[in-house]
Each structure stands twice: as structure tokens, then as C-alpha cells.
């Protein structure tokens, strides 16, 4: 039986294999400051933070969208979102994206920064079967498995990263719950 430590290492290995960038931080405050660092490094200007409470933690000179993500949907450089679970087998994160602003933050941003609690990483997709079914019993649900940034090999089978979805995926793993 795999211990939690093993699962996380495997998660990191598989996520990095598909070009996700991984960080380990202690808490949400550190996650937010890591996101701001990324924004500075990449010389970006706008961050979409769909969770209202978390958006208030972004004290900075960048444009922060939260309630107004939809209205500014063609202008989002970075999307900062929480992830609900991780799958170590494939290095995937799972995001319940029923909220439209959350979806837009994960789809229209150039850079997607996803924050995941270490303890929510499981081994295989079928381990999440029960909780997924619960969500799908609702009258409306949009759940995404996200593995690395968007990609294609449609031209001459040469891998190109960054097509219609985000060009980069950064995953910040939280120690705390």
C-alpha cells in the first residue's frame, strides 16, 4: 500500500513530466506570494482570482479580477484557482469548475496557477469515483481533470505546448489544510 509521501512524489514526477511547474509551500499566504512572484517574473499585469475571500489576500499593484472575471475575460494573464484533488498516477489536478468565473480563470488565462492541498492527492482516478458521482448527481456540474498545460502534436507530430488553453500550468502544493 502506498504511503502518502510516495503518492506525492509520484504526483510531482508525473506532473513535471507533462511540463507542469511544481512548488511546495506551507500555507495559502505563501501560495499567494508565489503567484505574485510568477506574475513579476513573467511580466504580467492581471490576475483572475475567482474565490472572493482569497482575492482579498492579493495586495499588489496588479489588476485583480474576482466578481468581474467574466466582464474582463479577454484580458486575463494569470488565473489563480484552488484545486479539489490530485491524481498521482497521471499527475492531474481535479477542479470542480461549475462556477463560470472559475472556469474562465482556468481556460482563458495565459498562465494557470492551481493550489492543491497535499492531503487531497490520491493514486488513481477511480479513487475519486464516489466523490465525483456525488457532484454529478447535482443538476449542474462541470468537473475538469487538468494535466499540464494545453498541447498539440497536430503539425508533423511535433509537440507544441500552449494551444487554446493555458500556455503554462503552475501547481502549488500546500502542506496545511
Amino acid at each position: 500500500m502506498q504511503t502518502n509521501v510516495n503518492i506525492q512524489d509520484i504526483f510531482v514526477k508525473n506532473a513535471e513530466a507533462v511540463s507542469a511547474v511544481i512548488y511546495n509551500v506551507k500555507n495559502l499566504e505563501e501560495a499567494v506570494s508565489q503567484c505574485l512572484k510568477i506574475c513579476a517574473q513573467k511580466e504580467k499585469n492581471s490576475i483572475a482570482v475567482p474565490d472572493g475571500k482569497i482575492s482579498e489576500m492579493f495586495k499588489c499593484e496588479y489588476r485583480i479580477y474576482s466578481e468581474d472575471i467574466y466582464e474582463n475575460r479577454d484580458n486575463i494573464d494569470i488565473g489563480f484557482t484552488m484545486a479539489d484533488a490530485g491524481i498521482s498516477d497521471t499527475g492531474s489536478i481535479v477542479i470542480n469548475s461549475t462556477d463560470e468565473n472559475l472556469r474562465i480563470a482556468t481556460m482563458l488565462s495565459d498562465i494557470h496557477v492551481a493550489v492543491i492541498n497535499k492531503s487531497t492527492i490520491v493514486e488513481k482516478a477511480s479513487d475519486l469515483s464516489e466523490s465525483l458521482k456525488e457532484k454529478m448527481a447535482d443538476s449542474a456540474n462541470y468537473t475538469a481533470f487538468i494535466t499540464g498545460p494545453s498541447r498539440t502534436a497536430d503539425i508533423e507530430r511535433v509537440l507544441a505546448i500552449g494551444v487554446h488553453g493555458p500556455l503554462e500550468l503552475h501547481i502549488i502544493i500546500l502542506e496545511d489544510i
Partner: protein, 708 residues
């Protein structure tokens, strides 16, 4: 499509050099990536699960649809059922009209290609844009996809550069990374402006009314999120009972398709989600389920397993014919082995009849199918169906009448050895073929009919052992009886030396495979019965064949002759030489002298994939004192395919070229356990003056066998 027009398409594909390089690179790379990604997986178990679960779903397709509909409608999804392609297109048009839709963005959907949806909608002044990069490229070019998963694999980056330069009005560099960013930019605004998004679905989960979409580019997510209306077009066979079934399919689909563990995105959509583009604040969501022949297929036990297909494209990825001609040569809309079958059911006999013959029956597709579909057999069944409807071509009918009369058949072959005298060259090859045969067939030297057939020589060869350890009857097969008796003579020599009593019942005939390949199933059954009668009187433990194709076909006798006792006995006892020598007689190095020559191996399709003979011939080469040299394309078809090389000589020739390149300069001798492969490879090496000797395994074993 007429055979002549189809052959024109095939020849055009064969002469496309870029396509050839692209397909070749892909075939080799795919083999390795698939192997890597399935490392540590019990693939047999996984495929078994998929097959069982899909079969279960297919058998209750109607009630699953009802369940899906009930659960989906409770959540506010509008469900439609289209009887056929036309109806599906009209339903979608009606949804567009009601919604005042002027522009549509689409993500990849083979089902929408099947119904020709784009083509239909464009007639009504609606702008439809494909957003999947490969699909967008071919849409701009006015072409169809040449592969289910990589639609533009037949195009070079230079061609794409020209295309995109036209679209943007800029002079672009032929740099793939740049081109992809051009697509991102050009299509971004289309998503934002579109009134409707159309997607497919990889699975539809009945228990929750959920659809699942497996993608890499992120376009399906945008297509299903931004516009105010979402329409999903889904084949009925995609419905599965529970999420767990969908997760099982997900576990194999990306791996088998592209060698990826999982795609960048898997999107599960349940019900009409929040959508600010709509006044109501909610998405207007429709799912159009398509029948178009699927219900008929589900109720036909000969064909229903075809509906297990999860559209991974693996069957095309490993097909030696596809490797030579690509999707536009080996498909109508659906491509590859599954395409040959689906074309008949979805697009009619006219589109299928030439296409379905372009299967070399190598079995590579069946070996990799994610759902364990017996593609080669069903392709043959479809071919038979077409012939039954249309009537057999005259040569096939004549041949079947001839072969069923064993005496006449054998007399004609013996006559042939006289008739051939004027055209036989010094080394025993036919110097040239009669003029009525086109020059296309001249790509390899053909052997002559032997002066004395094996059955003519039997009286000199036969022997009686006082106390044999084992008794083996020989099934000679046409090619070795009349053209290569030396293969059989060598095998008998070894068996005699091993104290094995060999018998040869003279009433045996052709195994029947050529007839089956020509769609003449009744004649094949008659010949099978002749053979089972001939061998019924032998009290041997094994029936030896030196031809993988004969052996593999004889294994089907039980099914063909409804499990008659004689058929079952023959099916059970048939064995190849390497199997007999390695596993039963357990011959080792002591029986052979050393020979330093380098021997390469070609794994005959029907022996390797059909009879699961893998290590036996390779081990016997080593045991017989030779130096075995492994090469890259051992398990790839030689291109012979029996009657195939007569029908499609140009494809056969190209496959042969590829095989010869893989052996060139790597060894002294090339062996196979099938006379058809020997004919093809030997003839090819001779025609091209290559320095490689091609022999049957029995010949090199016989040469180093110590006869004391």
C-alpha cells in the same frame, strides 16, 4: 467508389513522399510509445474489461438511452434522437435557427464528420469554425481528416505555413511553435463571439446524464463554456451505465491513441451550467444522439462487437497498409481497420466495396484494439456481405469451383509446370510474367512450379520406423506441395532423425484460406471438410504445417464446421515446425552443428499473431547453431497477403521495400515460417539484387542438423 477510381487514390497516396516519411516515422515511434505507456499494466485484463463492459452496454443500448434521457432531462438538458445523418443535421440546424445563431465554434467530433454537419450548416449561411488545430487546418484546405486523432498528419509544416500565411495575410516562418500560436490568436476571438458551441463526447454516463470529453488543446473547454448554446453530437454506442465504466475507458483511450497517460483535459459536463452569455444565466444545452445504423449493428451478433470501438485510432496506427497510403487512401470518413467496417454501415456499400478489399489480413489491428474487436474477421464478413449482395467477381467464382474439385485443381497445377517452361529463367524464377498481367506485378521475381511436387516425391521420401516416439501427419499446403517441396523435405528429414513417424494423407487439399479471402465462404467450408476427412483416418498426435497461414486457418475449422469431431481433432493437433521442435521434441544444440552465419528473422503474421508463435523460431535459430540477429521490423507484415498482392501490387511492393530496408546489410540469411513470406521476401531480394538469402526456417535447420 469504383475499384479503378479507388486504385487511383491509392496510387496517388503511394507517390506522396512527404506522406511516406511522416507515416513511417509515426509507425515506428508509436510502437515504442505504446509499449512504454503500458509498462506494468495487465493489458489483457484491461482490454477484457473494456470488451465486457462495452458489450453489456451495447446489449442494452435502448434502455440505457432511456435512462440517460430521463436523468438528463431532469437536469434541464434537451435530449434528441436522430435516426440518421440527415436528421441529426436538421435537428442541429433547428436549434441554431431558434437561437438566432450566426456563428458556431466546434471542437473535434468524428460523429459530426460522419454526418457531414459542417457542410450542411454552411448551406444555411451559418459560419462554422473548427477549433481543433488539425481540424481547423483541414477545414481551411477543404479536406477530410486523414486520421481520427491527428487529422492533419499528412501535411508538412511548410504546407501549414502557406495556409496560415494566406489566412493572416502575413509572411510566416515555417516554425511549428509559431504556427500554433497563430492558431491560438486567430481562434481566440471566434470563441468569444460565437453563439453556439458544438462538441462530441467520448462517453455519456447514463446514471447522471453526464458527458465526458477527452482533449489536449483546451478548445473543447472553450467551446462548451463561452457560447450561450452547447450542442453535443454523440453516437448511441457511447452511452455507458456508470462513471466507473467511463473511467475504465479513460484508462486506455489516450494510451492506445497517442501513447499519453492521459490528455491535458478531461471534461465532465453534467447539465446546463452557469452561462452569463445567456439572459437566463444558464446554458441552453442539447445532446443529439445518433443512430444512423447503430441500432441495426447492435442487434446483429456478427457485427455488434464493432460498437465497442472507443475511437482511439490504434488500428490505423499499426496497419501496414495505412502506413503506406495514409487515411485518405485507407478510409472514407472513418479510417483504418475500423473505418473499413464502419463505412459499410454508415456510408453504404458503394463507398465500402473497394475500400474493404484493401486489408492484408495481417492481424496487427486486432492485436492492439483497446476493446478486443476481431477486426480482420469482421472485415472479411463485410466483404462477404457485399459480394452476396452484388454477386462475386467472375474470377473468384471460377476459382472456388475449381479448388473444390481437388483432383482437377491438382491436375491444373501440374499442367502449369509445363506451361511455365518458356518463361522460367536459369535460377528457377519466372523470367517475366505474361503480358496480360500488368507491369505493376513485376516488383518481385516469382518462383516456378517445382518439377516434382511433394506429393509426387512422397513415395521416395516415405519411411517406416519400427518403434517411433511420436507420429506426425504432414499438411503440405499448396505453395509448399507444388512450389517449395524442399521446405517439407527438410522438415521430414529432421523428424526421421528424431525417431518420429511421418505420414502424408494424399486426399488433402488447399487449406481454404485463399477462398475465404475472396469472400467464398461456402467453398472454403467444402475444402475444410475435405481436409478434416483426409486427416480423420490418421492416428497421429500432431498435424505439422510449415505455413503459418495454413495453420492459422485450420485453427478456424472447428468454428467453420460447427465443432464436428473431425474438425476439432484437426484444429487441436495442428502445429508449426518451431513449436513442435522447441516445445514438444525439445531439440537442443546437441542435435545441430555450429554455423557462423548471421540469421535474421521475419515473423509471419499468421504464425506470430495468429498462432502466438514468438520465441520458438528465434530460439530454434540459436539452437541450430546460427547467430541470430534481431532487427527493427521483424513483426511487420511482409506485404504478401496472398491474394492481396495480386489486388494491390503497388502497396504490396512498397511494404516489401520497407521490409527489405530493415534487413539490408544486417545479416546473411533471412528466415520465415511461411512460404508466402518466403516467396515475397525472396522474390524481392532477387529482383533488387540484394545479398540476403531468404529461406524457410526448416531449410536452415535441416542444413545444420546432425543426421547420425
Amino acid at each position: 467508389m469504383s475499384k479503378r477510381d479507388y486504385k487511383k487514390d491509392v496510387n496517388k497516396a503511394l507517390s506522396n513522399n512527404f506522406l511516406a516519411k511522416a507515416m513511417d516515422k509515426f509507425a515506428v515511434a508509436y510502437r515504442q510509445s505504446r509499449k512504454n505507456v503500458f509498462e506494468g499494466t495487465d493489458l489483457k485484463e484491461l482490454i477484457g474489461t473494456i470488451a465486457d463492459e462495452k458489450d453489456g452496454a451495447i446489449s442494452e443500448m435502448d434502455s440505457l438511452f432511456d435512462t440517460f434521457k430521463e436523468n438528463a432531462e431532469k437536469k434541464g438538458i434537451k435530449i434528441h434522437l436522430a435516426k440518421n445523418a440527415r436528421e441529426a443535421n436538421e435537428i442541429i440546424l433547428e436549434i441554431a435557427r431558434k437561437g438566432n445563431v450566426k456563428s458556431i465554434v466546434k471542437s473535434k467530433s468524428m460523429t459530426s464528420e460522419e454526418t457531414r454537419l459542417n457542410h450542411f450548416l454552411e448551406n444555411y449561411d451559418i459560419d462554422v469554425v473548427e477549433t481543433d488545430l488539425g481540424e481547423w487546418i483541414i477545414q481551411l484546405r477543404g479536406e477530410g481528416p486523414s486520421h481520427m486523432v491527428m487529422p492533419a498528419i499528412h501535411l508538412s509544416k511548410e504546407q501549414v505555413t502557406d495556409l496560415f500565411s494566406d489566412v493572416t495575410g502575413k509572411n510566416l516562418d515555417p516554425d511549428i511553435q509559431t504556427l500554433v500560436k497563430v492558431a491560438r490568436k486567430e481562434l481566440r476571438q471566434k470563441y468569444l463571439d460565437a453563439d453556439m458551441g458544438i462538441s462530441g463526447a467520448n462517453f455519456a454516463v447514463a446514471q447522471s446524464g453526464t458527458i465526458g470529453i477527452v482533449t489536449n488543446e483546451g478548445n473543447a473547454r472553450l467551446v462548451t463554456t463561452l457560447p450561450k448554446i452547447h450542442v453535443a453530437l454523440v453516437g448511441l454506442e457511447k452511452i455507458v451505465p456508470k462513471l466507473d465504466n467511463a473511467l475504465n475507458i479513460l484508462n486506455i483511450l489516450p494510451k492506445n491513441a497517442t501513447g499519453q497517460k492521459i490528455t491535458s483535459y478531461v471534461t465532465w459536463i453534467t447539465g446546463p451550467n452557469e452561462c452569463k452569455a445567456n439572459d437566463s444565466g444558464k446554458k441552453e444545452m442539447h445532446i443529439v444522439f445518433l443512430d444512423n445504423g447503430r441500432k441495426l449493428m447492435a442487434n446483429d451478433p456478427d457485427v455488434s462487437e464493432v460498437l465497442r470501438c472507443i475511437r482511439c485510432g490504434a488500428c490505423a496506427n499499426v496497419c501496414p497498409v495505412y502506413r503506406m497510403v495514409g487515411g485518405h487512401g485507407l478510409g472514407h470518413i472513418y479510417i483504418g481497420a475500423i473505418g473499413l467496417i464502419l463505412t459499410f454501415f454508415f456510408h453504404g456499400r458503394e463507398n465500402a466495396e473497394s475500400l474493404v478489399q484493401n486489408c492484408i489480413n495481417c492481424g496487427a489491428c486486432k492485436e492492439v484494439c483497446a476493446a478486443g474487436i476481431d477486426l480482420p474477421t469482421i472485415i472479411k464478413n463485410v466483404q462477404s456481405k457485399i459480394q452476396d449482395e452484388k454477386g462475386s467477381p467472375l474470377p473468384s467464382t471460377l476459382l472456388s469451383k475449381l479448388m473444390v474439385n481437388r483432383n482437377l485443381f491438382h491436375k491444373l497445377l501440374k499442367f502449369g509446370k509445363f506451361a511455365q517452361k518458356p518463361v522460367v529463367g536459369r535460377e528457377g524464377y519466372l523470367r517475366h510474367l505474361p503480358l496480360i498481367v500488368s507491369k505493376d506485378h513485376n516488383f518481385r521475381k516469382l518462383p516456378k512450379i517445382a518439377d516434382k511436387s511433394f506429393r509426387d516425391l512422397w513415395d521416395e521420401i516415405k519411411y517406416e520406423l519400427p518403434d517411433p516416439d511420436l507420429k506426425v501427419s504432414v499438411f503440405a499446403g499448396c505453395l509448399q506441395d507444388f512450389v517449395y517441396p524442399e521446405h517439407l523435405i527438410s522438415a521430414v528429414k529432421i523428424l526421421k532423425g528424431q525417431n518420429v513417424q511421418v505420414t502424408f494423407p494424399l486426399e488433402q487439399s488447399c487449406c481454404g484460406l485463399p477462398l475465404s479471402m475472396l469472400g467464398q465462404n461456402d467453398a472454403a467450408k467444402k475444402i475444410a471438410k475435405q481436409n478434416t476427412d483426409a486427416f480423420a483416418l490418421e492416428d497421429s498426435q500432431y498435424i505439422l504445417t510449415l505455413c503459418g497461414s495454413c495453420g492459422s486457418f485450420i485453427k478456424k475449422y472447428s468454428k467453420m464446421l460447427e465443432d464436428s469431431e473431425q474438425a476439432n481433432l484437426m484444429t487441436e493437433k495442428v502445429i508449426t515446425l518451431s513449436d513442435l521442435l522447441f516445445n514438444v521434441l525439445k531439440l537442443d544444440e546437441k542435435s545441430f552443428s555450429e554455423d557462423q552465419r548471421k540469421v535474421m528473422f521475419h515473423s509471419s503474421c499468421h504464425a506470430g499473431r495468429g498462432l502466438k508463435i514468438d520465441k520458438e523460431p528465434r530460439e530454434m535459430i540459436k539452437k541450430a547453431g546460427y547467430c541470430y540477429v534481431a532487427t527493427e521490423e521483424e513483426n511487420t507484415c511482409c506485404g504478401f497477403g496472398g491474394s492481396y498482392s495480386g489486388k494491390f501490387p503497388n502497396v504490396s511492393s512498397k511494404i516489401l521495400d520497407m521490409k527489405m530496408n530493415s534487413y539490408d546489410g544486417k545479416g546473411d540469411i533471412l528466415v520465415a515460417e511461411c512460404p508466402g513470406c518466403v516467396l515475397q521476401l525472396k522474390g524481392g531480394m532477387a529482383k533488387n539484387n540484394k545479398n540476403v538469402e531468404v529461406k524457410h526456417l526448416s531449410e536452415i535447420l535441416g542444413e545444420s542438423y546432425k543426421e547420425d
